[in-house]
Amino acid sequence: MEHTFIEILRRALDEELTRDAAVHLLGEDVAAGGAFGVTKGLAQKHGEKRVRNTPISEAAITGLATGAALCGLKPVLEIMFIDFATLAMDCLVNQTAKYRYMSGGQLAVPMVVRTQAGAAGGAAAQHSQSLESWFIHVPGLVVVAPSSPAEAYGLLKSSIRFGEPVLFIEHKRLYTMKEALVEDAELPPIGKARLVRPGDDVTVIVYSAMVRDALMAAESLARDGISVEVIDLRTLVPLDMESIAASVTKTHRVVIAHEAVRNGGVGAEIAARIGTELFDELDAPVSRVGCDFAPIPFAPELERALLPGTGDIVRAVRELLGLAPARE
């Protein structure tokens, strides 16, 4: 049976609440189901003490969650939009991420910050951003970005059990995506990428919603006889260079695609590491697909025009191979 991303997140949270009494949900309106309905019904089942509404103050509630985690709970905090993480940044960067280090390992902050990112349906410049690269710059934070409902189920559970601060970034465009869950499957480890589609000619490195675009691009390129390998990073920190290396050593060509702007993006970091660590394997410069350096427009037509997607990946792959752009 297939479930939407939202339903599967709810199930994962429900199961973790049941499994471990230390798990608590915090966030604006979470007791009422949250802005996207992920936590619907959980307050009724597990009590409002464990599924708690909070005031609208990201700074305060991130501090609350961090303190709870320091005291032994395993809070799952919802920051409604990643765009609002700016308000939580001081606590996340200067407190949450630092306790383990500054206490010489005596303190742990086993908390998950669930947040939702990306552009879909005209949410405009303040509710559509992909800001993950801000967080990969901070030692002490783990950054997870699932690419499908089934992936989100396993990765959310792994994140809750991981024992370190995890930023769990859900893409709003994936919320309605449906997928069947393999029951009793092993939970995916944090820090391990997933080979989604094997191929020989070009490696496409993606995460979050872009994985779906990459798979569609690979399908379309396969019709022209081009074999694309798709790697879903799953976690951006820690980065699974081993999987990347294995793939690049095979294909010798790389496209990194993300929805975030290219400037200072995750792709820049990965491209640099490939350039340094795998230089002798490269047959072409590492190519990056990402958003142009502009805010996300409100008008749906402009949003569509700006966002990178399947077509951009196809173009990048063909360009790497020295082929003319496909007719669209």
Partner: protein
């Protein structure tokens, strides 16, 4: 500001190719003149190449694993000084001590050669197969040579004409190539003759046994240590043979260059080839010290870690194929040396003694001599004296 090109210096006698094994500096690092810059594997050993100029390393032209030839540019160093013209460079070069004469530096006014646009993996594959990228047509953007282009070039090379089988098989490793070149040079340009004599080991074995009995800690002496000492003594006694031939035989500049001591090479079989580490000033060394140095340099030879001064300067080599060797054999001179002694295996032989016969341990010694350096009479006397020393009891132990 000026750019100095760092080139591969000639570090061995017949060295032509090296392979970069490790860069000791990164791009952007500052280097001082004479500071080790890069580690390269020559045909015979791993050596460090020193920077010819002080400044900042701005470009590495030969990557780890790639090959380069003597004189090839391998890096660019940007010197801090503002030099008005390239003409200033020779001045500072003449001020250089002579020992650096093997390190060449040239100031660039423009880039010396056009760089062929190529992808890293294409360059690597081409280097692995000794393929010159200049002859490969690049199909990538702006004519970049890519992996497929190199594969195609290698494929067509393998498939064209009578050389098909040859290019399909791997090319020679640098050491084998060096060996092939040295032996071809020797056989083609050095007129060689052979003299032969048997040597009896009875006395030597007694000396050796006595030594082993009284000094338990000292290194065990091998026959090679005795051979080295004996040859050294004879070389000093026969300076006419302790020399190397220099120049073309038909040119008025041809001469014999005498050696300043007894520097003797010892042929060591290593995996897929042989090396000839040289022990210097053997005439000054006792057997104990000789044994120590021999063990050391054989060990380093087996691990490809000989220093370049350990490969140069000999006039004479000893090749001893040991107990499993042939009864007798002739060796080919290792240029520019002028003689080589081939030692056959030791075996019990019947020898006449005082009107009867006895069984004694004997080896056949075959001396190969460069006829440009010495003649039959000198060679015979040399060998006779060598046998006399080897059969005697006068050894310098310490």
């Amino acid at each position: 500001m000026s750019l100095v090109v760092q080139e591969i210096p000639k570090v061995g006698l017949v060295m032509e190719a090296v392979r970069v094994t490790r860069w000791l500096k990164n791009i952007g690092d500052s280097v001082s003149q004479g500071e080790p810059l890069v580690e390269v594997e020559t045909e015979k050993s791993v050596v460090e190449i020193e920077a010819t100029a002080a400044g900042r390393l701005t470009e590495i032209l030969v990557q780890v694993g790639q090959e380069a030839s003597v004189g090839d540019p391998i890096a660019r160093i940007e010197t801090g000084k503002t030099e008005p013209a390239a003409a200033e460079a020779p001045k500072s070069r003449t001020a250089e001590p002579a020992r650096r004469s093997h390190l060449k530096a040239a100031v660039l006014e423009s880039r010396a050669s056009e760089r062929i646009p190529s992808s890293p993996v294409a360059r690597r594959l081409a280097a692995e197969h000794g393929l010159d990228l200049a002859g490969v047509t690049g199909s990538g953007p702006r004519g970049r040579v890519q992996l497929d282009d190199v594969k195609r070039a290698l494929g067509s090379q393998a498939g064209s004409g009578p050389s098909a089988a040859a290019s399909a098989t791997p090319t020679l490793a640098p050491m084998r190539r060096a060996l092939a070149r040295a032996m071809t040079l020797s056989n083609a340009t050095v007129p060689q003759f052979f003299v032969e004599r048997a040597v009896e080991w009875t006395a030597l074995h007694q000396v050796r046994k006595a030594f082993d009995a009284q000094s338990a800690q000292a290194p065990r002496l091998s026959v090679n240590d005795f051979l080295l000492q004996a040859v050294a003594r004879v070389l000093i006694e026969f300076p006419a043979l302790n020399a190397t031939f220099s120049g073309e035989p038909d040119s008025p500049g041809a001469r014999l260059v005498p050696a300043s001591g007894a520097h003797i090479g010892l042929v060591v079989a290593v995996e897929n080839g042989l090396l000839v580490p040289v022990i210097h000033d053997v005439e000054q060394l006792g057997l104990v010290e000789l044994a120590r140095r021999r063990t050391e340099c054989v060990e380093r030879a087996l691990h490809g870690r000989l220093k370049r001064e350990e490969l140069d300067g000999a006039t004479f080599s000893i090749s001893n194929l040991g107990a499993r060797g042939p009864d007798r054999f002739t060796a080919i001179i290792n240029p520019p040396q002028s003689a080589i002694l081939a030692v056959g295996r030791q075996r019990d032989c019947v020898v006449p003694r005082d009107k009867s016969i006895e069984v004694r341990p004997l080896s056949q010694l075959t001396l190969t001599v460069d006829h440009r350096v010495a003649d039959g009479r000198l060679a015979s006397e040399f060998l006779a004296r060598l046998v006399e020393i080897l059969e005697g009891r006068e050894w310098r132990v310490d």
